[in-house]
């Protein structure tokens, strides 16, 4: 009898623990309700999404870092050089609209979940938005393309600016994506900027700062810079694979540097995170040695002069080059 009572209590305790970890939306994890997304509620427009992760208040004290970041393609992650925007449209037309079970017959059917194959990295905060934002994004992409076709520079620039209004700004790395292991380290909280220090932060919107356990680690970048197919999606996508190459080809055999060492510190580019477009990065990444000489090659009675060109290349980066 005594044993039976003990067993019942243990079961009740386990039930209470499980109930305590569940949120209103049915997702597990303690502290999820403290995130920016949970506090703000889902964005209904692109402007609301931009405002949710608005980094403009960072400029007041971190103008230099902000200016650096603006030079990086992270600051226009949906637009890119224009190719990214076009590739998202290709994904809609050649991917989603041709996939028989996607539920997308036309761009008007595209929802947030459909875009997450691209947005997982190009706009991770899209997960914190309603489907109306996905539609606004799609409409803006098509408006931009139509304006380009009509050579309407004003309309094209307007659409381009709208696409650039949502991006990988300060708060994506320093808040939303600052913690990968949320059950171990907790969910990133609204009002907290994550970096290398704990303490007060002189900002009305972000009065606290806290250490991100991964800010100086490769996994921070690896969240987006890819290991191969994104298996967590119903329809896996694949874009960047450099983090996979880093883990399995560089870290396991070659060296111990992380992404930040080369792309931010040694390059002295800081938050202007670049790759081959920066001459210094390109030069540091590949040793390119070439020699050439000529001689008369002979095979029996046949004499044919030839030039021999020997090329030796060593990739000094921490991942395969090129990637994509």
């Amino acid at each position: 009898m005594k044993l039976r009572v003990t067993g019942t209590l243990a079961l009740l305790a386990a039930t209470a623990l499980l109930a305590g970890t569940a949120c209103a939306d049915g997702k597990v994890g303690i502290g999820r309700q403290e995130t920016i997304a949970a506090k703000s509620g889902k964005a209904k427009t692109l402007a609301e999404l931009a405002k949710m992760y608005d980094s403009s208040s960072c400029i007041e004290c971190h103008q230099d870092k902000y200016d650096e970041a603006q030079k990086s393609i992270h600051s226009r992650s949906i637009y890119g050089t224009g190719r990214t925007a076009l590739t998202i449209m290709t994904t809609i037309e050649n991917g989603l609209m041709e996939e028989p079970y996607s539920g997308v017959k036309s761009p008007k059917d595209v929802k947030v979940e459909h875009l997450m194959g691209c947005a997982k990295c190009h706009l991770p905060q899209l997960a914190d938005a309603e489907d109306s934002v996905a539609q606004e994004l799609v409409t803006t992409l098509y408006d931009w393309k139509a304006a380009l076709k009509k050579k309407d520079k004003v309309a094209a620039k307007k659409a381009e600016d709208t696409l650039k209004s949502v991006n990988i700004g300060c708060l994506i790395c320093h808040n939303r994506n600052a913690i990968t292991h949320k059950w171990q380290d907790g969910y990133a909280k609204a009002g907290v900027v994550y970096g290398s220090k704990d303490g007060d932060h002189p900002s009305d919107k972000f009065p606290k700062m806290a250490v991100s356990p991964i800010m100086g680690e490769a996994i921070q970048c690896g969240q987006c810079h890819g290991m191969g197919p994104n298996m967590e999606l119903d329809e896996p996508t694949q874009c960047c694979t450099s983090y996979g190459s880093y883990l399995w080809a560089y870290k396991s055999e070659i060296g111990q540097k992380n992404c930040q060492d080369c792309h931010m510190k040694e390059s002295k580019l800081g938050h202007n995170i670049q790759s081959y477009r920066d001459p210094g990065m390109a030069k540091a990444a590949v040793d390119f040695k070439t020699e050439a000489f000529g001689y008369y090659w002979r095979d029996g009675a046949q004499i044919r002069p030839k030039a021999v060109v020997k090329v030796e290349m060593i990739n000094r980066a921490g991942h395969s080059i090129p990637d994509g």
Binding site: P236, S245, P305, E312, M313
Partner: protein, 101 residues
């Protein structure tokens, strides 16, 4: 570059993130490994009459060699198409002797 496998199956290369899953091979430069390329380029020859005989000789004794390491993201070369990037280059004039046995 990592040559992506279409939908993670079979022998076809995928294009676009929506159909790329997996890698068939990687033709790029692996980290930390030396990659060598060798090119043998024969001088163009011509036949000429010399002292009543037909002989074969090089059209020129100097060959301008250019080696360019390009990163070509996708498609045919052209600045408006794929924004290719010239990573490094080498140029040398290779000369061969004009006399000898």
């Amino acid at each position: 570059m990592p040559v992506p496998q279409q939908l993670g199956r079979g022998d076809r290369m995928g294009r676009g993130p929506y159909e790329k899953s997996g890698i068939i091979e990687d033709t790029g430069l692996p980290p930390g490994k030396t990659v060598n390329e060798r090119f043998d380029i024969f001088y163009p020859l011509e036949e000429v009459e010399q002292n009543g005989k037909t002989i074969t000789r090089p059209q020129a004794y100097d060959l301008d060699i250019e080696v360019k390491l390009w990163y070509v993201p996708f498609g045919p070369l052209g600045p408006k198409i794929n924004d290719p990037f010239l990573w490094d280059e080498f140029a040398k004039t290779v000369s061969i002797s004009k006399t000898g046995k």
